[in-house]
């Protein structure tokens, strides 16, 4: 066990630190809170991603030839930690960066890599993930969106749901059924679908927060070239599973930046409100602090394992369970610290941070459902990690 940095890693960190100091937009939290609507908010963050890309800090572990830095996974860990320390904004092209990119690097053709990877990094093209359907949520392999091969094209018809950033997306990693005659896991294929194609319709899906962060996607005879198949036709389950493993393994690293910032801010507010002498509040803040730190450590261990084995494994579900449930507890602690102020929404007299705490409380409710429910994650751990018999 050695957490010290090699001279190379140290140089990387110092260069990054200096860059972050010079480039993180000043007062960006306030500026972001003052934006109107999710499009404006999104464009604000996209400009940040562009800056990160131009600075050479996006796609740290991706191959150089596709716009990455060709460095190791540990540099990726350093990047996440330094971004968290510096209080940097999150990058909005998360799905492309964390899921689609790694999937293409692992299973994509050379042409696909050349076409897509650098645009994912720069944020020029935004990606979404067309996985869940109204009748295929936890039971993803039961999905019905179908793709028929006609005149050298796939023709896609069906419906997807809970698609994050669907409204902002240029491309979609879509899982479709190409062969209805074989058992459900075997007839699936992953396609890269241009969201601007005729027949694609994106409808907003209003969530309990009042926002429309997610979408429903409708595909009506959408033509997709055969060269847009990722991996092999019929091998979509394995390709999709690889994406999901990346999701579980790496999303935790991204949220770490947000959680650290949220905790520091809550501590400031607790001081401002004179709550830090209350022994019960002290206990709860300390517990949140400990959990956020343990999430960071679990993540470092997971990365070290991936670094050795090359691929994320099912233990990524530990991370998914940990960060989602931790955030729900943390948001409740925030409510207790803030008292009646916690409920106020944007624009209310006396509201803190433009209403982010009432929003955060509601948004956290979705954490244990999105990206695989806590129940499904536990069953993955039970079967694939602990070796218990499959229960479903």
């Amino acid at each position: 066990m050695d957490l010290s940095l090699t001279p190379q890693e140290l140089a990387f960190r110092d260069e990054l630190r200096a860059w972050l100091i010079g480039n993180i937009p000043k007062d960006w939290v306030k500026a972001l809170a003052a934006t109107h609507g999710q499009r404006e908010r999104f464009e604000f963050l996209r400009a940040w991603q562009r800056k990160v890309y131009e600075g050479g800090w996006a796609g740290i572990s991706w191959p150089k030839e596709y716009g990455g830095r060709g460095a190791g996974l540990m540099e990726q860990v350093i990047l996440t930690e330094e971004m968290a320390h510096a209080g940097a904004p999150q990058m909005p092209g998360t799905l492309g960066l964390a899921l689609v990119g790694p999937t293409l690097i692992a299973c994509g053709t050379d042409a696909q890599k050349r076409r897509h990877l650098s645009k994912i990094l720069s944020g020029e093209e935004i990606w979404c993930q067309g996985f869940s359907e109204p009748n295929a949520g936890s039971d993803l392999a039961a999905l019905r969106t179908e793709a028929r091969l006609e005149d050298g094209h796939f023709v896609v018809t069906g419906q997807k749901v809970w698609t994050s950033y669907g409204w902002a997306s240029d491309w979609c990693e879509l899982v479709v059924r190409t062969d209805p005659s074989v058992p459900k896991h075997k007839g699936l294929t992953v396609l890269l679908v241009d969201m601007h194609s005729p027949g694609v319709e994106v409808r907003p899906l209003r969530q309990m927060t009042g926002e429309t962060e997610f979408n429903e996607l409708f595909f009506e005879n959408v033509k997709v070239p055969v060269e847009n198949v990722v991996g092999k036709v019929g091998d979509g389950w394995n390709v999709a599973l690889g994406t999901l493993m990346h999701e579980r393994a790496t999303l935790g690293a991204g949220v770490q930046i947000t959680y650290k910032r949220n905790f520091d801010r809550l501590l400031e507010l607790a001081r401002e409100l004179g709550r830090t002498a209350d022994p019960i509040i002290r206990q709860k803040l300390a517990q949140s602090y400990a959990e956020i730190e343990i999430m960071r450590l679990n993540q470092m261990r997971a990365y070290s394992r991936i670094n050795q084995s090359g691929v994320p494994g099912p233990e990524g579900s530990i991370q998914k369970i940990f960060w989602s449930e931790l955030n729900q507890r943390f948001q409740q602690v925030a409510q207790e610290v803030l008292g009646p102020y916690g409920q106020l929404t944007k624009g209310a007299p006396g509201v803190f941070d433009e209403g982010q705490w009432s929003y955060g409380y509601l948004r956290a409710r979705g954490n244990t459902i999105e990206a695989g429910t806590s129940e499904i994650q536990r069953l993955i751990l039970g079967h694939f990690v602990l070796g218990l018999p499959k229960s479903y």
Binding site: L267, Q283, A286, E291, L297, M300, Y303, N307, G382, P389
Partner: protein
């Protein structure tokens, strides 16, 4: 950067597993539990000969000169085997002797002598201000393994100063009385001192810094030992869930049981991350070392108990029997939770270090 054991550390851990499971099987644990001291001279001799007692201490003092991560790896295996006796007590005493450059350390490293720290008083406070006893006259409580110690290290006051002294267990005026408690594999005692002469190790600010650093070392060791216990409870529970059948199928096929097992895994792995990081932080004297230690102990204290709860629950009635080993781990979990401060104590310590920026 690599957050995991190196090959050499893994070899050490494997050999620790082999040694402790071989030399201290469950039958031996159960046998020692029933004794007055939970101490077996022949087992202790082997532990000493293998160098475990001096694992982190300098080679000049007959230690192995290894680091905190190696200690954590060995502790995990001791926790897994539920090794009874005064190992942890000796480690804490050794850390104090090492920090004060006292030559008695070598006898501990070789396993020839045994020692323990007499810290807590009737107030049962783990913080240094809780030490109020006059040097050396008064009552110490919850002293582990005092019944087998050759000498004790006593924390007391000289005026306002904290003093650490060595006192022979058989010195006139020392009275040691057993305090039977929940974990019979690690015995507790009340120790009374009546005007006892001691050999001064450290005084004032120096004594405080020696004591708090030594407590950090022992707390990390305990947190790692707790991880080993959790892993064992998880392993036997998963094994049981695979073989025990109800309604014609293994109970591990029922989702309610799988969820308990998955929770145990999350708690165990998270405790492991925290314990090894704390070991690394103490070893390298990182500025956040004390926070890391408290995070590890706070988390493991709640986690081991909860892993025990779920493990017993999954075993049903069998888990509640004396014959099944789970209650031995459940008892150890409770005693470990209380040792060196429970989760509430360590959360308050985190609050002092993080909120109050002490």
């Amino acid at each position: 950067m690599q957050f995991g054991l190196t090959e050499t550390q893994q070899v050490l851990k494997n050999s620790a597993r082999e040694f402790f499971s071989g030399e201290c099987p469950m039958a031996e644990v159960r046998c020692l539990m029933e004794t007055d001291t939970a101490y077996d001279a022949s087992l202790w001799k082997k532990i000493g000969e293998h160098g475990w007692c001096g694992i982190i201490f300098p080679e000049e003092q007959d230690g192995l000169g290894l680091g905190m991560v190696e200690l954590a790896a060995a502790m995990e295996e001791m926790g897994r085997a539920l090794v009874p006796g005064p190992f942890l007590s000796g480690l804490l005493a050794g850390a104090i002797l090492n920090a004060t450059g006292n030559p008695r350390l070598a006898s501990l490293c070789r396993g020839e002598k045994k020692s323990t720290l007499a810290l807590l008083e009737s107030s049962a406070r783990w913080d240094i201000d809780g030490v109020q006893m006059k040097a050396i006259d008064g009552n110490k409580m919850f002293v582990p393994d005092a019944g087998v110690a050759d000498f004790l290290i006593v924390a007391a006051r000289m005026g306002a100063d904290l003093v650490l002294s060595v006192v022979h267990a058989k010195a006139p005026g020392v009275c040691i009385r057993a305090a039977p408690a929940i974990d019979a594999t690690r015995k507790l005692y009340e120790v009374t001192f009546r005007g006892v002469e001691g050999e001064l190790l450290a005084r004032g600010a120096a004594a405080e810094s020696v004591l708090s650093r030594a407590l950090d070392v022992a707390t990390v060791a305990l947190a790692a030992e707790m991880v080993g216990g959790m892993q064992k409870v998880l392993d036997v529970t998963v094994e049981y869930a695979k073989t025990r059948k109800q309604f014609g199928k293994p109970i591990g096929q029922f989702q309610a049981v799988q969820m308990h097992c998955a929770d145990m895994l999350v708690l165990t792995e998270s405790s492991r991350s925290a314990a090894y990081y704390a070991a690394y932080a103490v070893q390298n004297k990182l500025p956040e070392a004390s926070v890391a230690v408290s995070i590890a102990k706070a988390y493991a204290s709640d986690a081991y108990r909860e892993v025990g709860n779920k493990g017993i629950q999954c075993h049903g009635g069998m888990g509640f029997t004396w014959e099944n080993d789970l209650h031995l781990y459940y008892r150890r979990a409770k005693a470990s939770e209380l040792a060196f401060g429970d989760a509430t104590y360590h959360r308050e310590r985190i609050a002092q270090l993080v909120i109050d920026l002490k």
